[in-house]
Symmetry: C2
Subunit: 437 residues, 2 copies
């Protein structure tokens, strides 16, 4: 194909080339007509002086597919640093109806306009600034995989159709499965643990489902979960893994997409190379002292406290991310591990980033007898249930100390871009009110 990508146009100064793409914008000023044409790489500006060429566009709208042959003229003011002049237009696919939205400007992301944003996703994503959000998201995924692949993790694919809900019964989608009931996976938690027994280090990046009945800025019914799990480690190894991961993602994204991020008014996150660790008790103490609102003794962080501690570490420790350690054992899930020295706390760290938790990392109880006890005591579960038996089987026949984390891809994207609502970071978000487009 002799087609030149738009990002390569400026390297053909003086030559006659052919580009193709979508008519992105037009300014018809009589003798001096400017077209912008878009392809996957970017936008090229085209000057059309001849009346019979511009006449070919009569009645045609934004989105029309064009092939354009012309001479490359360097021009610093043009996007990409060059324009096409003396062009011949070839209309490949005409668009006759005017687009319901302007492609050249991003749609509003104000909370009251989000429904319009999502309704118009198919066309709205053709805007270059909006498109960049999901190019950035693709890079985040690529970076996460590269980071884990280098550490010899194996990528796995676990089923999303399950016989029973494994974690938490309430927010589970149920479906008819040939006369039986199946549920949709809320997390690959048990499968990734079992697969530590096989591959030692595993990850999966795949959809998970939550029948979340509330319409909030933080919840979707379907999202992409980045799940990793690894054996022969302790909690400090897990922190090191997560520190490295977040730093790597931020570095890769900012070195590839700085102009696009700035267009969204995103700022480069301050991150310590080793993300600082503060215990929950210490956060309660500092927060209480600073705000006058006492949270001492509470078993979780309040949303305002999460924001406050991230501000605090940003100012004082140069990091917009912080690990919260020493979670109360009373709050732990049955497969979590208690601290060996202090049975009152769980071996868990939450990673807060820019005011919200982006992941919970924890060590898992790998000793068969203890996890059976915890299942019965903490989850009132039956060890012989088909939903629990495979996990317990893995423990019974040998599992090393292991731990892992799950992180929402959309939430991570959201926090890097500075969006208010996680759905802005989903191509086609799903919530209680939205199943289309």
């Amino acid at each position: 194909m002799e087609r030149v990508l738009h990002t390569d146009v400026s390297s053909h100064a003086g030559e006659t080339i052919t580009i193709t793409g979508w008519l992105h914008k037009k300014r018809l000023l009589g003798g001096l007509n400017f077209l912008s044409v878009r392809d996957r790489s970017g936008v090229t500006q085209i000057l059309v002086e001849k009346g019979d060429e511009i006449e070919k566009l009569r009645g045609l709208q934004i989105g029309t597919i064009l092939s354009i042959t012309g001479t490359v003229v360097p021009d610093e003011r043009a996007p990409g640093g060059a324009e096409l002049h003396d062009v011949t237009l070839d209309v490949q696919v005409p668009v006759l109806e005017e687009s319901p939205i302007e492609i050249d400007k991003p749609l509003s992301h104000k909370p009251e306009h989000l429904d319009t944003l999502f309704e118009n996703r198919v066309l709205g994503l053709r805007n270059l600034q909006e498109r960049a959000v999901f190019e950035i998201q693709a890079l985040i995924t690529r970076t996460v995989r590269a980071y884990l692949d280098e550490l010899s993790f194996t990528e796995i694919r676990t089923p999303k159709l399950l016989a029973e809900a494994t974690e938490g019964g309430a927010e589970v989608f149920k479906l008819d499965y040939f006369g039986k009931t199946a549920t949709l996976a809320q997390s690959p938690q048990f499968y990734k643990q079992m697969m530590v027994g096989v591959f030692e280090r595993v990850y999966e990046i795949a959809p998970v489902y939550r029948a979340e009945p509330s319409a909030t800025t933080r919840h979707m019914t379907e999202y992409i979960s980045i799940d990793a799990e690894l054996g022969f480690i302790d909690l400090a190894d897990l922190r090191t893994l997560l520190s490295g991961l977040l730093n790597r993602v931020v570095n890769d994204v900012w070195s590839s997409y700085e102009p696009e991020l700035k267009r969204w008014n995103a700022t480069r996150p301050l991150l310590a190379e080793e993300i600082p660790v503060i215990s929950m008790a210490e956060i309660h103490e500092r927060y209480t002292k600073a705000t006058g609102t006492s949270t001492i003794g509470e078993k979780d962080l309040r949303p305002d406290e999460e924001r406050w501690i991230c501000d605090y570490t940003k100012k004082n420790l140069g990091s917009e991310a912080v690990f919260v350690s020493e979670w109360p054992a009373s709050e732990m899930k049955f497969y979590h591990k208690k601290n060996e020295q202090n049975g009152e706390i769980a071996d868990r760290v939450d990673l807060l980033f820019r005011g919200v938790e982006i992941t919970t990392g924890s060590m898992r109880e790998n000793r068969y007898d203890i996890v059976v006890d915890q299942l019965q005591a903490l989850a009132h579960g039956d060890p012989s249930d088909a939903g629990f038996a495979p996990l317990l089987g893995a423990m019974k026949y040998g599992m090393p100390p292991h731990g892992g984390f799950g992180m929402g891809l959309e939430r991570l994207t959201q926090k890097i871009l500075g969006f208010n609502n996680v759905k802005e970071a989903s191509l086609f978000p799903r919530d209680i009110n939205r199943l289309t487009p």
Copy 2:
């Protein structure tokens, strides 16, 4: 961590090192005891001569987690080319019960034993040969992504929860969605087409769902679909893309996993660099002439014909893969494109590999008016349906000629390994009879 991976043991000849892992096998011969220990990289053989060391394993079973310190002694007969001698054993997690299956030998893949294979997946995958299947699968995925990334495709994530079934109504899972009905995506077909309007070249590797009521060797209710779609191309470009992809996958897999593939009795596929193309009519003719069974005029290939033509191209054209071209237009889906020169055929190629179709590639109808007509004529669809409107909207506001394909990751893995049943290439297969483990 001072732990040495098992694949690195032989590079420490003469040194005292520590390894960790699962007790994989033991042969207690009195004074001369051999242990095999497994980690994510492989297996190390350990010689235990001292009685008080071997005494530590009394009553402990395969799967026990060990840390072993000893001296590296090169030995060509040992796996990895070295053994550990003069060892000190440290039992980290004891296993007290005998494993229900032997880890050291792969479970049978005979058709009548597959249920046992799948029931015992959690432990059965700990076998090195079985584990290799999914290491190979992870590499296939990595290779596919690398190939598409290099061609500037963008990875996308499209929803699996849909308001309506978009393609084919029968084999769709339905679920209660807050009092409404949602369906599970059978394919990202429409979304990937819409996203060509945004990114021009897109791919997704994600689960899809088919309420397939039959228990066959070819069908699962959940599988991983490799979907790609790209614009500004023709059918020949699609063939080039698929030829390159299959060659790349086979090369990468065989250069990394030749010993493992041979252990499964897999043979390296013969592949032409440009996979040959034969029209359906020609296949019918050749098959009829060769077998005496006439298929002339039929609108599809019979399963036996698919096997026959792959054998034929293997012998005569040096390729176990072949494109079948010139499919009858009467069989096409509404979003497929008819050939411009010959309205009787569709712009579609099926890629057969080792006797079965591994993907259907086709050009899509990108002209709004025509696709609306085809929707009404071929699928009796209503263009204003929420299921169709977004796709049609993309066409209405400008879509270039485009096409793509969808390929099951498990089926591709199956054909490379030479398995009879696609489920053997799924970590935790799902079909009409199986929702566990």
